[in-house]
Symmetry: C2
């Protein structure tokens, strides 16, 4: 069995309303010193050994990320 | 400036509807061999040097994660 970790993040310049809301909420709770907070997706994929990195890249392009507004990075993390 | 990366994942046994939906959709697209797919949050936090790991842990417990159903991990990733 293979394991992949996929990190999906908003592209530079794309507004991230969830991140901004969390940042404001932390500010309201009294946490100062936060300069930026971005919320993306962390996807953990377990699959058979036959599923290659190329295939996972294709899955990201087609479904798991929105290539117009998001970037993604894939790490293979072993068995 | 400090940078933290926070990984928020569903606790073992908690149903992840977004992950299950994505898994089914990949199956419908013809991708076979996927055994499990979980979707969590990937949070990137930029802050002043004065914000400690303890403070970020507190932020997670209070706001960024839901400790009843989610686990989180924090990595400090440098300047």
């Amino acid at each position: 069995m293979k394991q992949y970790q996929i990190f999906v993040t908003g592209k530079q310049g794309i507004f991230d309303p969830a991140g901004k809301t969390a940042q404001n909420a932390l500010d309201n709770l009294g946490y100062t010193g936060i300069e930026d907070l971005k919320i993306g997706k962390f996807i953990q994929l377990s699959c058979e050994d036959s599923v290659s990195l190329d295939t996972v890249t294709e899955m990201c392009e087609k479904l798991l990320a929105n290539p117009i507004i998001e970037d993604f990075r894939i790490d293979e993390v072993g068995q």
